[in-house]
Amino acid sequence: MSTDPTPAVRAGDPPTAGTLLRVEGITKSFPGVRALDDVRLDLRRGEVLALVGENGAGKSTLMKLLSGIHQPDAGTMELDGAALDVRSPREANERGISIIHQEFHLMPDLSVAQNIFAGREPRRLGLIDDRALARRATGLFERLGIPLDPRQPVSQLSVAGQQMVEIAKALSFDAKVLIMDEPTAALNDAEVRTLFRLVRQFLTPRTGVIYISHRMEEIKEISDRITVLRDGRYIDTLDTPGTAVADVIARMVGREIRTDVRPAPAPAGRPVVLSVRGLSTRRLLKDVSFDLHEGEILGFAGLMGAGRTEVARALVGADRSTGRVEVRGRAVHVRNPADAVRHGIGYLSEDRKRYGLLLDQDVTANVMLSSLGRESRAGFVRDGDARRVATDMVRRLAIKTPSVRQRTKNLSGGNQQKVVLAKWLVRDCDVLVVDEPTRGIDVGAKEEIYDLLRTLADQGKAIVMISSELPEVLRLSERIVVMCEGRVTGVLDNADASPHNVMELATRFGGAEHLLATTGDAR
């Protein structure tokens, strides 16, 4: 495989003329969700195109189509004027599209060089030629100016080092289009500088970069144009110079938000059910504090990776944390989920198939799971009672299932979510921590879940609701906690909250101002 580093600029090649990658009329649906609807995008030769949008705007889906993980339902994609119809990431690589994903896909126990050339190792007599492998990697690093030791195991590298390996791997293919998904999420300023240098080095009149990020300052610095997606649709493309950050944000959140349905202001003087002070984790959370009142839905807003799910997991003892948690004024020590449940805190995970359900077991088993111990007599389960309770829940929450003996695997997403909710209701949890309660659920079922959460709150339950869908947060929560990079950057009363000020708080990155100050001479 050729990894020619310096494609010569041929005479007559206009520096940035023409389209490198064109996407038109792309539509992609998943069960219950239309992820992309008539989306277009064009990447010019030699440019960095920033792709922005809220969580769920369709950026990741679009990238998955370009990298061959999924195929579009309708629409066309063209690379260098030829149709692009890739069926696998490998095919995409061969066509010259390289993607650096947000999550690394590295094999930690293998060396840097082995990771980069996995699947295309140089061979001699059928065996892997380690020396040639190291040589090839060294050559690549010298060309890119990356200070990495090809023989070092990846597990010994810092996060930034691993990021560099991913980038080197992407560039080791003869890539025409480099797609970077939130590449700076884990990097410090100096590392961001190195990354930007690599990006500029990669740009030639025959290549282009699609840069996905939430960080407006970085986008201002590195990109030539900005394409905005919202709710799976194409909104606008702006020239970066001369565009204000506020304009971009306005287009990101510009959807019509139904302001007619907002919760009534919370009545004063309701008792605090859950009080959290200085909640921190080693990896992300820094000093998170908030109060949750009886009958309240407290929304948690923020971008991907802001630390909202981490708050939930720390609260229920799924992850280790430090800080002080009080339930109804009494300090509690939650070491594991069993402790949390004892104190009346139930958790609906964002990943209900992994953390919420026993998919192979029936509705009764799932609804009763948390309460089996309490409902049993001398260690034996009373199945008649269990089925009655489950049947009652099916009726109360209008769970659509032919029978309580139905395996939860066969229920729709919305009904599965109701089963998980039923589990905590049977257990009489006062505090419900619901993480992305309507993820992967169709529109009709969403409304039902909203109504259900509202009713539960009205009945006195205290609910922490984490959601990436701003309309959902605005519609349901009396107050909104906004997070960014593991910190709480603001708490808003619903009446004061707007998409704009929530988004501003959600993008209040610690290093942003500093970064602005150092960018002047970089370009």
Binding site: L358, D362, L372, V394, T401, S403, R407, K423
Partner: protein, 334 residues
Amino acid sequence: MTSTTTVTDALPDAVVTSRGPRYRQQLQQILAFAGLVVIFAFFSVASPYFLDWANIKGILLATAVTGIMALGATFVIATGGIDLSVGTGMTLCAVMTGVFLTNLGLPLAVGVLGGIAAGALLGLVNGLNVSFLGIPPFIATLATMMVAQGLSLVISGTKPIYFSDVAGFGQIALGELVPGLPNAVLIFFVAAVVAGVLLSKSLVGRYALSIGSNEEATAISGIDVRRWKVVVYTVAGVFTGLAGVVMASRLNSAQPGLGLGYELEAIAAVVIGGTSLRGGKATILGTVIGALIMATLTNGLRIMSIPQEWQKVAVGVVILLAVYTDILRRGKDA
């Protein structure tokens, strides 16, 4: 399918077309049972001695010891774990029973309960190692398998312990409370009923299946997964202890060199019965049928004078067939 709810008026299409779980569980046992019938019929035709009651009794006796071990192993496998220590563990329990009854001269009941307690202790150690030290079940029980084997030899001084002086001990396995049926078989059937109730009706069984279905979801639901795993391994240990006592009684001696390989037969019985090694899916009836298939197969092949080497080959092939049909079946409803 019986419907116990009143919400059948609002069914999504996907739900209507899928078959209920009861049908599927029954199918799994029906298939295993059909396999047993086929094997049984084959040997009845192939050998005139096979259907002799003495021979059938032999099959049932052979089923009893492995079967009792397999009952306990079913619980561990239901969690998605594995217990390799049941074979040599059984021997250790037999040896301990010998120590209590022959060497120390304790009363019969005390000796028997002591042997069973030794099994429970072994299971407890397995459970603690798996749960609190986080050692993978395969490794944790491989280690105790070796420890149990070594201890059996050390404690017995590598010599068999005989129970000739212990009045009534031999009756435990070979007496016939029900005329014509050895007590060992009776004990196996009673133990199977107890195990069946434990697995399907008690917290241990339910939690074992929940952990096997989805350990993370079970933990998030507030169940102390580590504690319940310890209970599950201890339950398995109790069955190991019982198997040890029955084995010792049948041979009227504790043979410290025996035991290795029994664990694989027990696991094979569980797997043939349709219990998934990934956990979450297990039935005691399946395990009983699986144990019967293993014993019938070995017995039938021996009666047909098939050399022992080839018997092993045949058993191996049957295990492959049994698990593969299970995979085929599951592939269809996935």
